[in-house]
C-alpha cells in the first residue's frame, strides 16, 4: 500500500535538503493507509490489507538483522510467535481482571515479549555472525517450536490459545469487533513501527550496525564491541517482530505453535530477500508481494509454495539485491536521462523471458496435475496435463525461451553498459 511513495523515500534519504519531500512521503503513506479501505471496502480486501500490514512490520523487523546488521536468522518467527502468545495471554488477563487497558496497547506488550526473549537468548546467539549465527538461530527456533508443544499450559498444545478482542474496554467508542476497526489499528501500528524503524537506521546505533555488517574488525578498532552492537540490533528486531506477532494475535484472536515454526521464519526470509535488503523500502515491497501472492495463488494452484521457492532461487541467483535493488539500479540512468536507450532491449528481452516463465509454469502445473485435477488454464488457453502436446509446448517454451532469452539478455547487458558509461560521463554514477 505504500508501494508508490516509497521509492522517493530513499531519494529523500540521499538528499538532506529535501525535508519537505521526506515528511511528504510519510504523510502520503499515512493518507494511503487511511484511504485504502474506503476505496476497496470488501471484507476480503480488508483482511488482505491487515495481513499485508502485519507482514510489512515483520519483514522490516527482519531486515534490522539481515539488511542492516548482516545477521542471517532462520528463527525470526520465535520472537514473533512469543509476542503473539504474550499478547493473547495479556488480552485474556486484561479481560478477566477488567483492567483499564485498551486493545491498541496490546501489540506493545507483544513487542516487549519479543524483546524479552531476545534479551534472554541474544547474548549467546550474537557472539558470532555469519553461518554460526544462522545455525544457532535455526537451533533455537526448533527448540522453542518443539518446546511449545510440551508446555501445554502456556502454549495450548496443538490447538493454541484463543482470546476475544472485543472483551477489552472500548476506546473512543471502538470495540474492535469489525475488521475495519482492526485494520485501522494495524495501519496505525504499521505507520508507527515503520517510522520508528526508519528512525533507528538514522541513529548512531543504526550506523554502527551497518559498520558491523561490513567490517566488524574495524568497528573493534574504533572502540565498539560488535557483539554488543549485534545484541542490541537483535533486541530491536525482536521487539518489532513481537509487535507484528501481537497484531496477528489480535487479528485472528488466536495464537498457536505454527506462529513459532520454521515455515513462518522461512516466509519472512523470503519476503525480505525478494523485496531487497539493501534499501529500507525493500522489505515493504517484498512483504506486499509475497503476502499478495500467498493469498492470491492458493486459489489458483495447489503448489503455490513451489512458486515461492522458484522465485526465491531466481532472485538469489540473478538479482541478489531483490526488487528494490533492481529498481534502484536504474536511478542513475533516469537522472542522466539515458534510460531510454536501454528500454528497447528490455522490451526485446521481455518476450523470450516471459515465454520461459510460462514454460516453467506449464511444466510445474503439468506435473502437479498429471494424476488428476482441473485442466491447466494458461492465459485463457486450456491445456490437458496428460496430453503429449502439452508436454511438447512446455518443452519448447522452456528450452526455446531459455536459449533466446540468454541472447537477448546479453544485448541488454551491452545496452546497459553503454547507457551507464554515458551516465558516468555526465557524473551520475559513482
Amino acid at each position: 500500500m505504500t508501494n508508490a511513495p516509497t521509492p522517493s523515500l530513499a531519494a529523500a534519504k540521499q538528499e538532506p535538503g529535501g525535508a519537505l519531500g521526506f515528511y511528504g512521503v510519510w504523510l502520503l503513506a499515512a493518507a494511503a493507509l487511511i484511504v485504502l479501505p474506503l476505496i476497496f471496502s470488501s471484507g476480503g480486501s480488508l483482511t488482505s490489507f491487515s495481513l499485508i500490514g502485519i507482514a510489512i512490520i515483520f519483514a522490516l523487523s527482519y531486515n534490522i538483522l539481515l539488511g542492516q546488521t548482516g545477521l542471517l536468522s532462520f528463527g525470526h518467527a520465535v520472537q514473533y510467535g512469543l509476542g503473539g502468545f504474550l499478547a493473547v495471554h495479556a488480552m485474556n488477563a486484561v479481560a478477566n481482571h477488567n483492567w483499564p487497558i485498551p486493545l491498541p496497547v496490546i501489540p506493545l506488550i507483544g513487542g516487549i515479549g519479543g524483546m524479552a526473549f531476545a534479551l534472554l537468548v541474544g547474548w549467546v546467539m550474537t557472539k558470532r555472525a555469519g553461518t554460526v549465527f544462522a545455525m544457532i538461530s535455526l537451533g533455537i527456533g526448533e527448540l522453542v517450536a518443539s518446546s511449545s508443544l510440551i508446555l501445554r499450559s502456556v502454549f495450548g498444545g496443538e490447538s493454541g490459545i484463543t482470546t476475544d478482542r472485543t472483551s477489552l474496554m472500548p476506546m473512543f467508542g471502538w470495540t474492535f469487533g469489525p475488521q475495519i476497526q482492526v485494520y485501522y489499528l494495524i495501519a496505525f501500528w504499521v505507520l508507527v513501527s515503520a517510522i520508528a524503524m526508519y528512525a533507528l537506521t538514522r541513529t548512531p546505533l543504526g550506523r554502527i550496525c551497518n559498520a558491523v555488517r561490513d567490517n566488524p574488525e574495524r568497528v573493534e578498532f574504533i572502540g565498539y564491541d560488535p557483539h554488543v552492537v549485534r545484541y542490541l540490533a537483535y533486541m530491536f528486531a525482536g521487539f518489532f517482530a513481537g509487535i507484528a506477532g501481537g497484531l496477528t494475535a489480535i487479528n485472528f484472536e488466536i495464537a498457536n505453535s505454527a506462529y513459532l515454526g520454521a515455515m513462518q521464519s522461512g516466509f519472512v526470509l523470503f519476503s525480505t530477500f525478494i523485496g531487497g535488503t539493501a534499501y529500507f523500502f525493500g522489505p515493504i515491497l517484498g512483504a506486499i508481494l509475497v503476502t499478495y501472492l500467498q493469498l492470491g495463488l492458493t486459489s489458483v494452484t495447489s503448489v503455490w509454495q513451489l512458486y515461492f521457492g522458484v522465485i526465491f532461487i531466481g532472485i538469489v541467483m540473478f538479482a541478489p539485491g531483490g526488487i528494490a535493488g533492481i529498481l534502484m539500479k536504474h536511478r542513475p540512468l533516469i537522472r542522466a536521462g539515458t534510460l531510454g536507450t536501454v528500454i528497447p532491449s528490455y522490451l526485446v528481452a521481455a518476450i523470450p523471458t516471459l515465454a520461459f516463465a510460462l514454460g516453467i509454469i506449464l511444466t510445474i502445473e503439468t506435473v502437479a496435475r498429471f494424476s488428476g485435477g482441473d485442466p491447466i488454464n494458461l492465459l485463457g488457453i486450456p491445456f490437458v496435463a496428460t496430453a503429449p502436446t502439452t508436454w511438447a509446448a512446455a518443452a519448447v517454451l522452456v528450452v526455446g525461451g531459455f536459449l533466446v532469452a540468454r541472447i537477448t539478455w546479453r544485448r541488454v547487458a551491452e545496452a546497459w553498459d553503454r547507457a551507464a558509461t554515458v551516465a558516468r560521463d555526465r557524473g551520475y554514477l559513482a
Binding site: V132, L143, L151, S153, G266, G309, I313, P320
Partner: protein
C-alpha cells in the same frame, strides 16, 4: 532393562551411522567451500524417493546403486550451475540458495509423490528376523543397513587417508587456496566432493527409506539434526562428526525408549496447584522431550565449547 539397553544400543548405533553418512558429506562440503548446505537432507530425501520409484520399476538391488548415482548427478548440477554462479555474491547468498533449494525440493517431492508416506518396503530377501534378543526379533534389514553404512565408512576412511584424491581433499579442507596454487582444479574438486557428498546422502536415503518413513517432510525433520551433529562435532572435523553422529543417534534412541518423568521419580505434584508450566515439566516423559534434546545439546555446546567437540576453529 537389559533387553532395552541392547536393542536401543543397536538401534542407536544404526541411526548414528546413518547420520554419519549424511554429516560426513555435509562437513566436508562446509570446510572446503564454506557453504552450509541446507539442501543436504533434501538429497537424502531424494535418495529415498528415487530408491522407492526405482525399486518399483527395476527392483531394490539396482536401485541401491542407481539412485545414489542419480542423486550425485543432481548434486553436481547444483554445484556447477547453482553454487558456482552464486559464489560471487558471497556466502550468505550461497546459503540462501541451498535454503531455497531445500524448500523447492520438498515441494517438488510432495507434488510428485504426495504428502502422505509412500509404500517403500523392505526387499523380500531381507524381510526376516536376523536373531532374537530376549524376546525381540531383530530384523535382518537393520543389520543390512548397519553393514552398508560401516562398509561406506571404511571405504571413506581408506579413500581419505590412503589415496591421492583423499590427500587433495584433506588439503583442500584446511587450505583451499593453497591447493589451487599447487595446480589442482579446485572447481572440479569441489564439484566432485559435492557430488560424492550428495550421493552418500542419497545412499543413506535409499537404505533408510524402507526402515524409517519415506515422506515429503523427512528432510525438514532430519536437516536441523544434521546441523546439530556437525556443530556439536566441530565444524570441519570428520572424527568429530563421527563421534557426534553416534552420540546423538544413541541419545535420541535411548530417549525415545525411556518413559520416565519427574513425576514418576518424585511422585505426582499436589493436584491443588492446578495446571502450570511446572506441572507440564513435571509430567513430561523423556520420550516426549526426545525431539528437543539435540537442540538443547546444540545450545549447551555453543555456550560452553563454541568450536564443538573436536573442532579447531570457531566459524
Amino acid at each position: 532393562m537389559a533387553e532395552l539397553i541392547v536393542i536401543s544400543t543397536l538401534n542407536g548405533v544404526l541411526f548414528g551411522m546413518l547420520l554419519f553418512l549424511l554429516s560426513s558429506g555435509l562437513t566436508v562440503i562446509f570446510s572446503m567451500m564454506g557453504v552450509l548446505n541446507f539442501a543436504h537432507a533434501s538429497f537424502y530425501m531424494l535418495g529415498a524417493f528415487f530408491g522407492y520409484q526405482l525399486t518399483r520399476w527395476i527392483g531394490f538391488w539396482p536401485a541401491l546403486v542407481i539412485a545414489p548415482l542419480l542423486v550425485g548427478v543432481v548434486g553436481m548440477g547444483v554445484e556447477r550451475y547453482g553454487l558456482r554462479n552464486t559464489h560471487k555474491h558471497g556466502h550468505v547468498a550461497e546459503l540462501l540458495l541451498t535454503f531455497g533449494l531445500a524448500f523447492a525440493i520438498e515441494e517438488i517431492v510432495s507434488m510428485i509423490w504426495g504428502k502422505s508416506p509412500v509404500d517403500y518396503r523392505v526387499p523380500a530377501v531381507l524381510d526376516f528376523p536376523a536373531f532374537t534378543v530376549f524376546s525381540t526379533n531383530y530384523p535382518a534389514y537393520k543389520i543390512f543397513m548397519l553393514v552398508v553404512s560401516v562398509v561406506i565408512f571404511i571405504a571413506l576412511l581408506v579413500t581419505l587417508k590412503r589415496t591421492r584424491v583423499g590427500l587433495i581433499v584433506q588439503a583442500a579442507l584446511t587450505h583451499p587456496s593453497m591447493v589451487g596454487h599447487l595446480g589442482h582444479n579446485v572447481g572440479r574438486v569441489f564439484m566432485l566432493v559435492f557430488g560424492v557428498g550428495s550421493a552418500l546422502a542419497g545412499l543413506a536415503g535409499v537404505i533408510a527409506g524402507p526402515s524409517l518413513v519415506t515422506q515429503s517432510d523427512m528432510a525438514a525433520y532430519l536437516g536441523p539434526i544434521l546441523f546439530v551433529v556437525i556443530v556439536f562435532g566441530g565444524l570441519g572435523s570428520l572424527p568429530g562428526a563421527f563421534i557426534a553422529s553416534l552420540l546423538i543417534g544413541l541419545i535420541q534412541t535411548f530417549a525415545v525408549a525411556l518413559n520416565g518423568s519427574l513425576a514418576s521419580v518424585f511422585g505426582p505434584l499436589d493436584p491443588s496447584l492446578g495446571p502450570s508450566p511446572l506441572t507440564d515439566i513435571w509430567n513430561v516423559t523423556i520420550a516426549q522431550i526426545a525431539p528437543i534434546l539435540p537442540y538443547l545439546l546444540l545450545v549447551l555446546v555453543l555456550i560452553f565449547r563454541p568450536m564443538g567437540l573436536l573442532g579447531t576453529r570457531e566459524s
